[in-house]
């Protein structure tokens, strides 16, 4: 199996090597970290290890800049959570934060230097319409989407179309479960919500084991691996932190994943965390999780794919066929999300529209205040 390392990974695993880097090595490291969305995280690591005074200033400007942006997001997230909790209070609905928002709210170490693109919350399906109306009334509005997209979200997805606050401009994703209803696995959202824990009054996160399982499910079911390394690093951080601080965490993890029908993504998470980051996972837990392992042939195929896709999307990190691996995983994610009779018409429609409206979302360079969105990486595979 290919396990060629690269600078960013070496540094994340052995931060003390940072002090020995030459400027030319920094010149490689900074772009790798930027593409992996890990500049801010790298800065947090440097602060944590007390290396700030020993490292060259010029590259540190880049890590610091991203770190400051992340600290701003921490403040914004806390404020948004307060606003959300006020908005949903009259419906007696708790605000259950998912993913990045939850890491910020619990002040987990992995949130240091992390960046968010939106805030994700979980709401019971029965209350979804009411919640959406409340949120609309409080200023979170749905962008104008084509009718087809509206229907796609509402019929087939586990979330409603993204909302944007009219004055603050923050993005909100409202989920009613953690996987699309059309997906192969059907975790019961009620069980997940019942285990949520309150962090500040009215604001919740998932329980620790569920947080790990959700993060794993999200990563290994998504087709977008642009930030795959960041996500695997999140998982590594969650496993290490809960493993060290919460007695019983390791014993609950696998049984809970089985209960939620999500043992397969949990297996992948444990497998790739130990393979890529040498996460300290008890042997018995790995053994238990093997129920989620695919057959031996599939296992080798998956290793080939994921060991490519979970590298930063930067040419200096690419192995042969990385673009092809990303493309296959993109197709796989859709296959996991929808049965073929829904998927094929959907993808053809999407591809057609992409050709017509290619790059429509990008900004003109004069609009310096907008941070442009990168294109999905697999299109670059075709462009090569």
């Amino acid at each position: 199996m290919s396990r060629v390392s690269y600078l960013l990974l070496d540094v994340l695993r052995y931060p003390e090597t940072l002090t020995g880097l030459t400027l030319s090595e920094w010149n490689q490291l900074i772009p790798q970290a930027r593409h992996a969305l890990l500049l801010g995280r790298l800065h947090a690591l440097i602060l944590h290890k007390g290396l700030l005074d020993e490292l060259p200033e010029q590259p540190l400007n880049h890590t610091l800049s991203a770190y400051l942006a992340s600290e701003k997001q921490r403040a914004t997230t806390a404020w948004e959570a307060t606003k959300l909790s006020r908005a949903l209070d009259s419906l007696q609905l708790p605000v259950i934060l998912l993913k990045g928002g939850a890491y910020f709210q619990t002040n987990l170490q992995i949130s240091q230097g992390r960046l968010l693109s939106d805030i994700d919350i979980l709401v019971p399906k029965a209350k979804l319409d009411e919640a959406e109306q409340r949120l609309n009334a409080e200023g979170w509005m749905s962008n104008k989407l084509a009718e087809y997209d509206q229907r796609y979200y509402r019929e087939w997805m586990h979330e409603i179309p993204p909302l944007k606050h009219i004055t603050r401009g923050s993005f909100l994703d409202v989920h009613h479960t953690i996987l699309p209803p059309t997906a192969k696995y059907r975790p019961d959202p009620a069980k997940i919500m019942a285990a949520a824990k309150e962090i500040t009054p009215g604001v919740y996160t998932l329980g620790s084991v569920d947080m790990v399982i959700h993060s794993a499910t999200h990563l290994f079911h998504e087709g977008d691996f642009d930030h795959g390394l960041r996500d695997i690093l999140d998982l590594h951080g969650l496993l290490t932190y809960f493993g060290d601080h919460e007695p019983g965490f390791w014993d609950e993890l696998v049984p809970r994943a089985i209960e939620l029908d999500l043992i397969n993504p949990l297996y992948y998470a444990l497998h790739y965390c130990s393979l890529i980051l040498a996460t300290d996972i008890p042997q018995r837990v790995i053994q238990q999780a093997k129920q989620g392992e695919p057959n031996p042939l599939m296992s080798r195929v998956m290793d080939w794919l994921f060991m490519r896709a979970l590298r930063p999307d930067h040419p200096s990190c690419d192995l042969p066929f990385t673009g092809f691996a990303r493309l296959l995983l993109y197709v796989r994610s859709h296959y996991l999300r929808m049965p073929l009779h829904l998927l094929i018409p959907h993808l053809s429609r999407k591809a057609w529209r992409r050709r017509v409206a290619d790059k429509g979302e990008q900004t003109a360079p004069g609009e310096a205040f907008n941070i442009p969105k990168p294109k999905p990486s697999f299109w670059r595979f075709w462009a090569r």
């Binding site: 880049h62 800049s65 003109a364 360079p365």
Partner: protein
Amino acid sequence: MMPHISELDLQHLHSLLRSTGLYLKTGPFTYRIRSSVPSIAEGLHLLYGDNPYFQQLDFVDFDIRLDSPNRLRRRFRPKLDFYFDHQTPFKPLPVTQAYAFLEWGMNWCISVHMNQYLKLHAAVLEKNGKALVMPAAPGSGKSTLCAALMLRGWRLLSDEHALVSLQDASLIPVCRPVSLKNQSIDVIKNFEPAAVFGPVCEDTHKGTVVHMQPDSRSVELDDQRVEPGWLVFPKYVPESETRLTERIKETAFLKAGDQSFNYSLLGAKGFEVMSKLVGASDCYNFSYSNLDEAVTTFDKLSETAA
């Protein structure tokens, strides 16, 4: 003594840009620039002629490239992509806008990626050891005024980015060509026939855009910080009289905050540094239509430097 970019042969510069790239240091930032477009080579040769030429820099802040995505694009309706680190953050633009695209892209690198300073959208100049900071929205005549002051002996720190140090609120220069648009181009040409201009880019989303060469003294002093002196909000008003009026610091603070790229991102630190900047500056509104009178007014103002 380090050679200057203008000392390179233009053909040599062009072949550098096509291969390993030109290493450029401007203010605190370093760029590596690659492009096969001739107008980029011409523009850089002329407008960055006084910047030192480095054969190689070990670390560059921004690795950028302007080129057509493929051969076909080079022949039919040629368009350029702006690559930053292999990614293309913008829509492609016609090759006729190449030089402006480069400068906008270089600005964007600073606006979006650098938060180790408080950044204002402002022109910054220096006289008698104090900085004149002029924050303004696009279209308020900031660059025209900035160009005129530079041509009359003020030192240019930037016509686009006021970089304010988070430590002591001093102004950090990033001396680059001044961007002029539409009527301003002729206004400055008439004001100073000796001014030097780079490639003309027509029909951009901002109209006709051209960049003016900074004077060599400003480029030479590009690493020397300046203490804040005056915070002035300029406005070009057709046919108006020249008028400089004091304004209270409280509203100047808010208005400067409006013109900041990262005031809110920096949180408490942003507030602290902005307070220092406004505290140390005399604050004014300025409206003008006549450039000669404007220069006289500012020259007089510069005499108030303690």
